[in-house]
Symmetry: C2
Subunit: 262 residues, 2 copies
């Protein structure tokens, strides 16, 4: 079992209730558990109660910062359709709600309608010809997620080499560091695991208010080609769009989040 | 009081419960009430219980098609922070849930952090130099929303003049037809009121599964400059991105939805 599956595992604690442990192995800046990781835990619980296998649209509103330690997840099956089912999960720690998740599920293999793309996967050199984030420099202290998720760049963003260039967009390879193949639940987490695109504006960190991920396919094994960008910052509110394409050039996940800059 | 405010009005029906009437004046293709209009009703109810004035992020999962007639809205104040509050609303008709909404609220006037844009408002000729949708042709029978929302094009999309060009993107002016200034709640509806961008692929209509709107400002009076595009269709699932810029060139709303094509 891979690290992600292990660290997002849930155990039944009653009808529509689950227990989980938020580990210290997916911490972002400030030693805070990553929001995508928390979403992964919520989806593991919710998936147990859903009559269809794959999340296809997932939304999380982050209410309070998560902490390392025990968590409980309450789930609700909101609507069970034949092709699409929708449910809700609430993650709580110490009796307080910290995230509210809604998600729709389907069977991705049975979505056989038309496919038309007006976009291309990132044009990146082979992963072996790219530079690994770990070889550029050590992550800030406590950012343990850097040990769980591997990233490789053709050209690292300016801030990563000490020269923020004011360009909040980047393309790179990513994978779970233990080599596990990401399933749609892991993809929903991965879209939130890279440092914010706004870091290149000289802004350290951000607080995700809302994150929606659309899952389009179960990825083939191998590195995932990613594209991230922030296009609109107003009054300290920043969007961040993220795409993940699998090693065969297929779009497998797409997300947008709204984050509050410090 | 404008048509939108009138047709989204709610009356208290108990603690955290409201009654509303889904009118037949905002019907889309197939005579179905528009999803954005339904979201407007949900937000009118939710806004009543929120301690802050403006929705800044709004997500709706559409569970079943709405019908013209009475509706009830149950609300929940999920988290009341000093700067940001989050709540939830469930719209039901005939005892069955038809939409589940989560939204975060703030005071848009008090969000004074940095503003940086990597995008431009649509470059459109003045509205008086554009062609009005109503002058291009009559909407399909029963599409009453065309009487509530006015649109003007420098160049109408191909499908609108009988020549679908396979280009699911467009820029145009839009406003509430009665001239009312759209508030953030109306903006959250307006992003869903144009015909789907995929119509230009020869596809009539689509079913919105999930819609998230980020509200960035209270618009100035006047026409709203809009940009819509679909970039990824896989297995019959299509995204649609929508931007609304006000008459002073300020981004006021941005949305993405996931829709199932017929």
């Amino acid at each position: 079992m891979g690290e992600f599956d292990q660290d997002t595992a849930v155990t039944p604690a009653g009808p529509f209730e689950y227990a989980a442990t938020v580990t210290d192995r997916w911490n972002a800046l400030g030693g805070r558990p990553n929001g995508g990781y928390l979403l992964g835990i919520a989806l593991r619980a919710l998936g147990t109660d859903m009559p269809l296998p794959d999340p296809i649209s997932v939304t999380s509103y982050f209410l309070r910062p998560a902490t390392v330690g025990p968590a409980t997840i309450r789930t609700e099956l909101t609507r069970a359709g034949r092709r699409i089912a929708t449910g809700e999960a609430t993650v709580a720690q110490n009796g307080t709600d910290i995230a509210r998740v809604i998600a729709s599920y389907a069977d991705l293999e049975k979505l056989t309608g038309r496919t038309v793309l007006f976009n291309e996967p990132p044009a990146l050199p082979a992963p072996e010809d790219c530079v690994d984030r770990a070889d550029i420099g050590a992550p800030p202290p406590g950012v343990t997620i850097a040990d769980r998720v591997q990233a490789r760049f053709a050209e690292p963003p300016g801030w990563m080499v000490g020269k923020p260039a004011g360009l909040p967009r980047s393309e790179f390879w990513m994978r779970l560091a233990d080599g596990a193949v990401a399933d749609p639940v892991a993809l929903a987490a991965l879209v939130d695991t890279a440092p914010p695109a706004t870091t290149d504006l000289g802004v350290m960190g951000s607080t995700t208010l809302e994150l929606t991920v659309h899952l389009r396919g179960r990825p083939a094994p191998g590195w995932l080609a990613c594209r991230v960008s922030t296009r609109h910052i107003t009054g300290g509110l920043a969007d961040e769009d993220f795409e993940i394409w699998d090693s065969t050039g297929r779009l497998v996940a797409q997300s947008r989040q709204l984050a509050l800059l410090p």
